[in-house]
Homo-oligomer: 253 residues x 2
């Protein structure tokens, strides 16, 4: 199966590598920036291109992994191809593809990618949506060749997943960062907090977070709560955040 | 070395098991509740007791792992022993021990424990404080026999660690729980979010959270931010939380 990768960022890079590992032929990597295209294309043995007109229109699969606001333009470019065209965006509905396009869908990876960190693609949940059942069946086969974690998810559900991911991933990371700040301000090394962060995530791999909530708020430990608020004197934003989150946790009891 | 464990909760259980695994002799487990004492004592081959007067006053080490507000009473009971007395509380200062007690200190595990989840004790950071250098040296040896992650931390720093842990662990878990709620309300399985939670924690094991922040807020992606706020219509508390956290993240750019 011949694949063209549209984009050269984190998502494009991890997908391309996974496709090659699964035996697909990466024929082209397109990026607005030729240098970026070369960087990824060289890794996966593909041709690097940066001109839209150079895109091979006879591939079997086109993976659009560009910024959300650049998707419509790329869809336009690929409007006439026979191959399967998929985008990888959590926040973009299937209707971004015009009605005339039949062989298209969504292949949304619910995972956080960084170029600097290797990632086991078998741990990437892939959320699928397609124009019709026939295309869905094809897309499912492709997805299962990359990861066993394959889910059928419609556009409305995908928006919800993206929102839940912001809470569970982006916001959690921000709370880790607050931990880092608090420690550094007090000459303590972030290193000391890392095992706790790891265990907190591991705990919910086989349990539900609602069932394993710990800490002073859920215990209604007012003494510790007020000690902590005192420690945050001079940091009104963190004080507010501490109070808001603690109040919410108390309500869930 | 003969150890008496005061307490039978999560911390007492994990410490007792680790002590036994490291070759210490657990001679007694004390708990206010005899049934709880028996449950743990049976696991570690110790005598279960629930009467303070039954505590063997000739042990080498007393581990106090009870609720914070019960610590003063247990310190009182152990005021005259020759053995080393340590408490395990993040929020309790060293001065909880009277001046007359010289052989005492703190052995605070910066980790989240649940009885139902096995935990590799070598991944538990142990934070030490002691009355004097001699005691600290003894405590350090003991700590290193349980875990390689040993840190000297004074009472003021320990309070800070505890605060940072609330943000990085308790509050993060609460954000996972919000993710769970949002998914369940939309007939989506929490399972799909688990790999992302794991990868988010793994990412900061070799990087700093400040350097790997992702998501719509850090990208200033106003379109997604307002879409998400719209999805949270009817959930004013989550809307507020979303806005507060996003604003804070934007400020860090």
């Amino acid at each position: 199966m011949k694949v063209v990768c549209i984009g050269s960022g984190n998502v494009a890079t991890h997908f391309s590598t996974a496709f090659v590992a699964a035996g697909y032929e990466l024929i082209q990597v397109w990026s607005k920036n030729q240098d970026h295209a070369i960087l990824l294309a060289d890794q996966v043995g593909a041709q690097a291109i940066s001109v839209e007109a150079d895109i091979d229109l006879h591939a079997d699969l086109y993976l659009i992994a560009v910024k959300d606001d650049a998707i419509p333009e790329m869809v336009q470019v690929l409007a006439e191809v026979d191959g399967l065209v998929v985008h990888t965006s959590g926040a973009t509905d299937l209707v971004i593809f015009p009605a005339s396009m039949k062989n298209c869908g969504v292949l949304y990876p619910l995972q956080t990618f960084s170029k600097t960190k290797a990632l086991d693609f078998s741990k990437v949940p892939l959320c699928l949506e397609a124009k019709n059942e026939r295309v869905l069946a094809v897309l499912k086969k492709i997805a299962l060749s990359l990861s066993p974690l394959v889910y059928e998810v419609n556009s409305a559900q995908r928006r919800i997943l993206h929102l839940a991911a912001v809470f569970a991933c982006n916001f959690s990371n921000y709370l880790y960062a607050i931990g880092q700040d608090i420690l550094e301000k007090n000459q303590l090394d972030f290193e000391i907090l890392r095992p706790l962060i790891m265990e907190t995530a591991e705990k919910v791999q086989h349990a539900f977070p609602r069932d394993v909530q710990t800490g002073p708020a859920i215990r209604n430990d007012e003494q510790t709560l007020s000690k902590h608020k005192e420690l945050l004197t001079g940091m009104p934003e963190l004080q507010d955040l501490y109070e808001t989150l603690s109040k919410s946790i108390k309500k869930t009891v």
